[in-house]
């Protein structure tokens, strides 16, 4: 009867990395932090909105927030009655407002003095110079921050993995061309390239920013994938797969990739950090998103114009800092977890 000497013998590499990752207190804490931010981002419309969650209007029960979601998906419409309605002043029988009863873009021109705009019970984190609620802006901003991070990183991952794997697997002239391409892209002054394109194009959009960050950020992933594929290309299990007549994509994705996933995730975590930082720096300088879109960086941008509004400087920066720290810690914990020296 053969019993494993150790309960962890024979576990897969993925299971090993997960087990090591769970040992990291900060890493696990950061996963929770990112989770909370993701939940806030998903529920942003329910948490902060100028429309009631549920209301009764002239004896009719309405769910305006749900309907707004439908309208944004294109499966519902406001109709003639609510198209231009001011939701704040409708004659409700009763209404249940979201916890923060302001939309990120709704302005309140009645707030004139600095004192009226500073944090108060009505506006917990204050408002900006045109009376937009900061807390609502930050809640909806988490949506932009996370989607920019994930979309930009997905673009970079796709390009990096495919190009790296092709270069490593085929070698020869294909490898030389891809390697040169990587060298060229590495030398791009990334921040300046993105800022130039976004500033020169009439109006930068979120998709443009995501695309540019992704298109310039794939080089380290491609280099890693290339090295990884080169390393395992002549190992027995790849030869066996080739001998069995498997197609090249199948060998790369089913046999080579699984071992490379964990290290690639390290690049992904740090890539998300740089994507979030790029976008906030762009918006901070005033080149990023259109003025109607409220992101963490664009709230911080407002702080430059009105230095007396300290709340505009402190809170959005804090959100960026917390998010960036969490992804950095996840990256660090993953790097420690994939360290082969830990595997005894």
């Amino acid at each position: 009867m053969s019993t494993p000497l150790n309960k962890n013998d024979g576990e897969s590499y993925g299971a090993f990395v997960r087990r090591q990752f769970r040992k990291s207190t900060f890493g696990m804490l950061s996963v929770w932090v990112v989770g909370v931010i993701a939940v806030v981002a998903i529920l942003a419309d329910v948490l902060a909105n100028d429309k009631p969650l549920v209301c009764s209007l002239r004896g009719e029960i309405l769910f305006p927030v749900v309907r707004e979601f439908g309208v944004s998906l294109g499966i519902a419409s406001w109709g003639a009655e609510f198209g231009t309605a001011d939701w704040k002043s409708l004659p409700y029988d009763w209404a249940m407002m979201p916890p923060i009863p302001y939309a990120p873009g709704s302005t309140d021109k009645s707030l004139v003095t600095l004192n009226e705009r500073s944090p108060s019970l009505a506006h917990l984190l204050g408002t900006d110079d045109i009376g937009r609620d900061v807390l609502s802006g930050l809640i909806h901003g988490s949506r932009y921050a996370l989607s920019i991070g994930f979309v930009a990183m997905s673009i970079a991952l796709t390009i990096g993995i495919i190009l790296g794997a092709i270069a490593g697997f085929f070698g020869g002239i294909i490898d030389i061309i891809i390697s040169r391409l990587i060298e060229v892209v590495i030398t791009f002054p990334r921040f300046f390239l993105i800022i130039t394109i976004v500033a020169l194009v009439e109006q930068g959009t979120l998709w443009l920013i995501m695309g540019l960050i992704g298109l310039t950020g794939w080089t380290s992933i491609a280099r890693f994938m290339r090295a990884e594929v080169l390393r395992v290309r002549h190992l027995d299990f790849v030869s066996a797969a080739t001998a069995l007549g498997y197609s090249t994509p199948r060998i790369i994705f089913r046999h080579v990739m699984p071992n490379a996933i964990a290290p690639v995730l390290i690049y992904a975590a740090f890539g998300i950090v740089s994507a979030i930082l790029f976008e906030s720096a762009l918006s901070f300088l005033g080149f990023g998103v259109p003025p109607t879109v409220v992101t963490w960086g664009s709230v911080l941008h407002k702080a430059r114009a009105s230095t007396y509004s300290w709340w505009l400087a402190v809170f959005p920066g804090l959100m960026i800092f917390v998010t960036v720290s969490a992804f950095n810690l996840i990256g660090d914990a993953l790097r420690d977890a994939t360290d082969p020296r830990l595997r005894s």
Binding site: F188, R190, F192, I197, L200, A313, F321
Partner: protein, 360 residues
């Protein structure tokens, strides 16, 4: 070694070609006619109305900036200028006379759309400020980071190590544009504490007659906040690498050998471990260079320091294509050179790395 250098420099050519192409393409593909924008002073399509006078001015400007020529000729004129050639008389009325290109010995990035001055001159006068600040910041950052990294790695697990690791991590995740804004908001603001000036290089009352100490004091008072922001950003980046590099080296066999032959701890750490731990830090210089201009754009525009970063920021706001193209190209070249220098320094510092032919 020389062969390697030559190969690397030859590889620069296709890279530079692609970079100039991108730089050129970006400025040409951007919507809007620069000449029309110039006449309208940045307004959309000319706010002053389109009279015949304006049409004539636009024609003149288009001619002056070669915008009336085919795109490939514009590109040739621009890149010729980059390589110190004056291409003014190459393309005349449909004729192409390549021998008319004259070597001027001075790169020509075209004239700024904002004030018609040569972009090269504008950049040259801004470079010293940015370069000095970045150099001082990098040196200061290394001076703090290296001893701290050594201490942290030789005393792992102690309270001081834990605190420094934690603080370093926090610094690493703090975005510069946030710290800069906080510094301006809280430290140079009459509402809170106003101990630092919020902008500029020197006081309005600055005069050349001041003593050297008074001048120095005035400069350092103005540059204290931006320098702190510069230094912490570089410092967080460097010391993170220093600690891990030192920890890595201390585990090596030759360090155990040095201990085994009875050397005291001091010489083990400083003579045997530190030298090897410093090698990876060399490549960091190459990594810091591309951030140089990007970082300066943010920091200089927060603190209104008249350097390269602020020049580029203003150029971007004013859509000054010649200026933007120049800054983009220059920073790409800087990055290329930085990478090459780091590789060469690497081979000097580490005898195990050789780029020449293997002679055995």
């Amino acid at each position: 070694m020389w062969q390697y250098l030559l190969k690397r420099i030859l590889l620069f050519i296709p890279t530079l070609f692609i970079i100039t192409l991108i730089s050129f393409a970006v400025s040409r593909l951007a919507p809007g006619d620069p000449a029309a924008a110039k006449v309208g002073q940045g307004g959309e399509g000319g706010t002053s109305g389109r009279g015949t006078l304006n049409e004539k001015t636009i024609e003149l400007i288009r001619k002056q900036w070669h915008l009336d020529k085919p795109v490939w000729k514009q590109y040739v004129i621009w890149t010729g200028g980059l390589m110190c050639f004056s291409m003014d008389s190459v393309f005349t009325d449909g004729n192409t006379n390549w021998s008319a290109a004259t070597f001027t010995g001075r790169p020509d990035f075209g004239k700024s759309f904002q004030d018609n001055r040569p972009v090269f001159d504008k950049m040259v006068e801004r470079v010293p400020v940015t370069l000095t600040m970045n150099l001082i910041a990098i040196i200061l950052a290394y001076l703090i980071a290296v001893p701290m990294g050594i201490y942290s790695a030789t005393h792992p697990g102690t309270l001081a190590d834990r605190i420094s690791t934690f603080v370093l991590f926090a610094l690493y995740s703090l975005p510069v544009f946030w710290i800069g804004t906080l510094a301006i908001t809280f430290l140079s603001n009459p509402e809170f504490i106003s101990i630092f000036p919020s902008s500029g290089l020197r006081s309005p009352s600055f005069s050349v007659n001041w003593s050297i100490w008074k001048k120095l004091l005035d400069y350092s008072w103005h540059l204290a906040l931006p320098m702190i922001v510069y230094v912490y950003a570089d410092f967080a980046f460097i010391s993170r690498q220093m600690r891990s590099s030192m920890l890595e080296v201390i585990r090596q066999d030759y360090v155990r050998t040095a201990r085994a032959k009875g050397l005291n701890e001091r010489s083990v750490i400083y003579r045997h471990a530190l030298r090897n731990a410093l090698i990876p830090l060399i490549t960091l210089v190459a990594a810091l260079i591309p951030n140089l201009i990007g970082g300066s754009v943010i920091i200089e525009s927060i603190f209104s320091i008249p350097g390269m970063g602020e020049l580029s920021f203003k150029g971007l706001v004013a859509r000054d294509y010649p200026l933007i193209m120049a800054v983009f190209t220059v920073s790409a070249v800087l990055t290329l050179v930085g990478m090459l220098v780091a590789d060469i320094m690497y081979s000097f510092a580490d005898p195990r790395i050789s780029y020449g032919k293997k002679t055995s």
